[in-house]
Amino acid sequence: MIELQDVHKSFYGKEVLRGISATFEDGKTNLIIGQSGSGKTVLMRNIVGLLDPSQGQILYDGINFTALTKEDKMKLRQKMGMIFQSAALFDSLSILDNVMFPLDMFSGWNFRERKKRAQFCLSRVNLEGTDNKFPGEISGGMQKRVAIARAIAMNPKYLFCDEPNSGLDPKTSLVIDALIHDITEEYQMTTIINTHDMNSVLGIGDHILFLRNGIKEWEGTKYDVVQSGNEHLNNFVFASDMLRQVKDHIEIK
């Protein structure tokens, strides 16, 4: 479980996050949504420790992450997996080596065990037979799946995804969403996803946090989204006329 307590973040006097508090539970797919510039990425970078909050606390299962030393943060990070917007695979390594990388660094297993685990993770994301290819030789969707395989290789307790569907076609996006959701339930991880994708919001949003101008504007589940009277949330989620009509139709029913 990850708890945010009154998290603030400022850059050169400009406050980007203003008192965000939330709880992200195990085994649930938690979504952070909001318009560009609302502070989603800054919040994510604070949660994973790439930035330090100006004020407030971030607790990982009760441990105050913000107060940890650099060494202790690094130890805790070994329990984290992250999928970046650009997949962030290591160009110089093959697909298998990319997935084996965290195991090589931290597992202490022998080569055969590490390879077996990496191949299992690749099969979990339906990428058998791509071991010797390089990131530049596979599609964007496959790169995202490799990133998921790498993120789960160490069996992490916390999974973070920064816009995992950006640049993907709707069908591939659904595959990625389903994969993240299934893995979250299977391994009872605490998963936090930054997204703009409305399919993700309505498809896998067990818990949704809507940010606006650095403030938590709304919080709820995918079912609450449809019934919400929050004007800003409705304008964001049901931005097109067609989606508004769908919402009205559901409400009438």
């Binding site: 790439l50 984290m80 997996g81 970046f84 962030a88 290591f90 090589d104 660094m105 973070f160």
Partner: protein, 249 residues
């Protein structure tokens, strides 16, 4: 403002080096990277080092023969001066300046691209000390390879001088050999090698600093690459002045 900016860079450079010089988290991973960096930064530079040194050795030989040697000078002076130039300055300092261009831009653009494509962030999230994992093998690889490249450069320069003498008929082999051996001080070879260690550290660490701290996109990667080459070249020349003063006293 300029001084503040310089001090800010220097402070961040020291912080980065503080993170870089740590015990590797996994020795087998370090050794794998170290081996790769030796190949990428050192072995892959041998061709250009040999080529440049060969021709510069030949050109020095011609220039000394044409411009310095006269009836008032002993005939071995061409070989003697060629050797001293190669040992004391060309094969260590000038060759490192050339390598600052080749290797420095390579390091800065590689790390810069890793930064803008979030590969460095990915390492940090995994709990890897990214500075140590990425930069330490580069510094150690270049420290290992540059003295070898300096030695190769000295030999290639001398071979260039011989070829020029023989093929061009500028000087006879006996005079050149006598000049190359005349009043030889072994310490001058060590001077070149000692200097090259310092230059290797400057090139690898300064270029890594610029690449590692890139913010933005491809334009900034290009800028970082230029800054890496310019600042490591200036620092190589600057430190050459002090090292030459200290080592040849």
């Amino acid at each position: 403002m300029f001084i503040l900016n310089w001090l800010s860079h220097f402070g961040r450079y020291l912080q980065l080096m503080g993170r870089t010089f740590a015990i590797p988290q996994r020795w087998h991973m370090f050794l794998r990277s170290y081996r790769l960096e030796m190949v990428q930064l050192g072995i892959n530079s041998i061709g250009i080092v040999l080529l440049i040194s060969f021709f510069i050795g030949a050109v020095i030989c011609i220039q000394i023969k044409v411009n310095i040697q006269s009836a008032w000078m002993p005939r071995f002076v061409t070989g003697y001066v060629t050797r001293e130039i190669l040992l004391l300055e060309f094969s260590s300092s000038i060759m490192c300046l050339i390598l600052a261009g080749k290797v420095g831009s390579n390091i800065a653009s590689e790390l810069g691209t890793m930064r803008v494509t979030q590969q460095i962030d990915a390492l940090e999230i995994m709990g890897v000390n990214s500075a140590n994992y990425l930069i330490f093998p580069k510094i150690m690889g270049l420290l290992t390879m540059i003295p070898l490249l300096t030695t190769f450069s000295i030999f290639a320069g001398i071979i260039g001088a011989y070829c020029c003498a023989w093929i061009g008929g500028i000087i006879n082999q006996t005079d050149l050999t006598f000049g190359l051996q005349y009043s030889f001080k072994e310490w001058f070879v060590w001077c070149g090698i000692i200097k090259s260690f310092f230059f290797a550290f400057i090139i690898a660490s300064v270029s890594s600093y610029w690449g590692y701290n890139v913010e933005g996109g491809s334009v900034e990667v290009g800028r970082a690459s230029t800054s890496a080459v310019v600042s490591s070249s200036v620092l190589v020349l600057f430190s050459d002045m002090f090292l030459t003063q200290m080592l040849t006293k």
